[in-house]
Amino acid sequence: MLRFALQRLFSLAISLVVASLVIFFVIEVIPGDPAAYMLGMNAQPETVAALRRELGLDAGPFARYLAWVGGMLVGDFGTSYTYRVPVSELVLARLGVSLPLTLYALLLSTAIAFPVGLIAAARRGSGLDAGIMGATQLGIAIPNFWFAMLLVLVFAISLQWFSAGGFPGWDKGFWINIKALTLPAVALALPQASILARVMRSAVIETLGQDYIRTARAKGLSQRQSVLRHALRNALIPVLTIIGLQFSFLLAGAIIIENVFFLPGLGRLIFQAITQRDLIVVESVVMLLVFAVILVTFLVDMAYAAADPRLRRRGA
């Protein structure tokens, strides 16, 4: 297990280095002079020169890359050009919205998909199964941000159970913020839950066809017992993989859905940064997002090595 973990950790490090090189290249090398690009066409040469100095652009690309990565390792992401505050400060504040939203949605999606997929598999071929499959087919086709707008229309505007957007801030208490994140989380979670429920269903159906399930039934376990005790655990591997993948979809989705609910998260930060050409912020936030995805992939690998010893020996 230790060897496997070290191997994975090594490839995690390699991925991060390559990803950071790609991001650095696109943001800082392709535009030629990032300072001139950030200030636009009408900038005075002196202003450009001043920004060049501030960003340390007089150094070569390689030295700048090392400075950027070295800074990130100690939590220094540079200073936002438009906000004039450290990027780490900006990002940390916004993460307080985006990350809880993503996790809330992941939790909801899993909590919905598990029982739904399990029931569909256990009642394969029934009317209930057909209904669930039809509903999930529809769920997959719905863009989450549009679903979010429909939720606002029904639950915020017509029924007035929730506010249509905004975020009070964590200093105002826990539940009031959870309530503010509920509609966005539901909008994010349902399409993903549809996918997950389908994966869950086919994984359970697949394991139900295995010999050990027949043995379990033969020794007298009921269908329900054999599903819960044996099939579920073995079906978890493909399901875990999909949950890991869903994290990156949900994170990207959170960034989009924040627009529907006017949430002050990473999404708002990055889209404002794009319009204001604040490349420093774009660069750091993109790196952070990619880091999150790579890290979750690593954690999923570790989780199923823990769940299934056979995967550890394969090594790859």
């Binding site: 863009p143 941000f145 549009w146 086919s202 990207a252 794009i274």
Partner: protein, 273 residues
């Protein structure tokens, strides 16, 4: 001969409606999508404007038709790009299975998987500005590793078969075998995956243009129609509901078509799932 499954027909019909709307919009739309008519603004669906009008008095049906064109064009080109780049990489990796090239290609794939389509679009847009072309590039890059994986997976199982071995023994090179024997035999897989990526592409294009990273005004696109509708949702809900329904039905049609194609093209695939 198996009968064409119902899902295939239903999916093809749904997709066909929107493809037809897109084609017709090249020649004719009920109203001019760029013509503003403030006097007729924010009308609910009625006899003259079947889908109502927006805040500039533009006809929503006409905009949805032109929007179909953008959505479909972006998704099709992005699928094409993913196939053209990904399939040769996948074939190459399979031909050198276990070798260094295979390893490099597959690790490269993993790396691209770490960049969600939205993040690629953010990177491209930050430097080149938003446009439909940049949306295509972003979705195309996102599609590439998907096709590489499917091509490699399909090719790997073929490389163990006798007739491929025979071709190898008779002196054909790896590249020639890949092109002449492997590619035609994984075409089914690629078509099915193409349909899936097509529907994901429609969703991705809508999301990108919703956040302003896709097609730019005055070109109507489904995503941007939704973004504009958002502030008017309490008094003009039709503006938010109709373009969204267009997206859902197109994607649903493509997904059903993909499922149906998978079932009818290759019964083996069904079992493999």
């Amino acid at each position: 001969m198996r009968r064409a499954p119902l899902t295939l027909l239903a999916g093809a019909a749904l997709t066909g409606v929107f493809a037809l709307a897109a084609l017709v919009s090249l020649l004719w739309t009920p109203f001019d999508v760029t013509a503003m008519n403030i006097g007729a603004r924010l009308q609910a669906p009625n006899a003259q404007h079947w889908f109502g009008t927006d805040h500039f008095g533009r006809d929503v049906l006409s905009m949805i038709m032109v929007g179909a064109r953008i959505s479909i064009a972006v998704a099709v080109v992005a699928v094409g790009m993913g196939m053209v780049l990904g399939v040769p990489l996948g074939l190459l990796a399979a031909a050198n299975r276990g070798g260094l090239l295979d390893e490099v290609i597959m690790r490269g794939n993993d790396l691209i998987f770490a960049f969600p389509a939205l993040v690629i679009a953010i990177l491209i847009t930050a430097v080149f500005g938003p446009s439909a072309v940049n949306a295509i590039i972003a979705i195309g890059i996102f599609n590439t590793p998907v096709f590489a994986r499917v091509a490699r997976g399909g090719a790997l199982s073929l490389w163990t078969l006798d007739y491929i071995r025979a071709a190898e023994v008779s002196g054909k090179g790896k590249l020639r075998i890949s092109a002449e024997h492997i590619l035609p035999n994984i075409a089914n897989l690629l078509i099915v995956q193409g349909t899936i990526q097509f529907s994901l592409g429609i969703l991705a294009e809508a999301a990108l243009s919703y956040v302003g990273l896709g097609a730019q005004p005055p070109m109507p696109s489904w995503g941007r129609m939704l973004a504009e509708a958002q502030t008017m949702i309490s008094f003009a809900p039709h503006l938010a509901i109709l373009p969204g329904l267009a997206i859902v039905l197109t994607v649903l049609g493509l997904n059903l078509m993909g499922d149906g194609l998978r079932d009818s093209l290759d019964p083996k695939l069904r079992r493999a799932r």
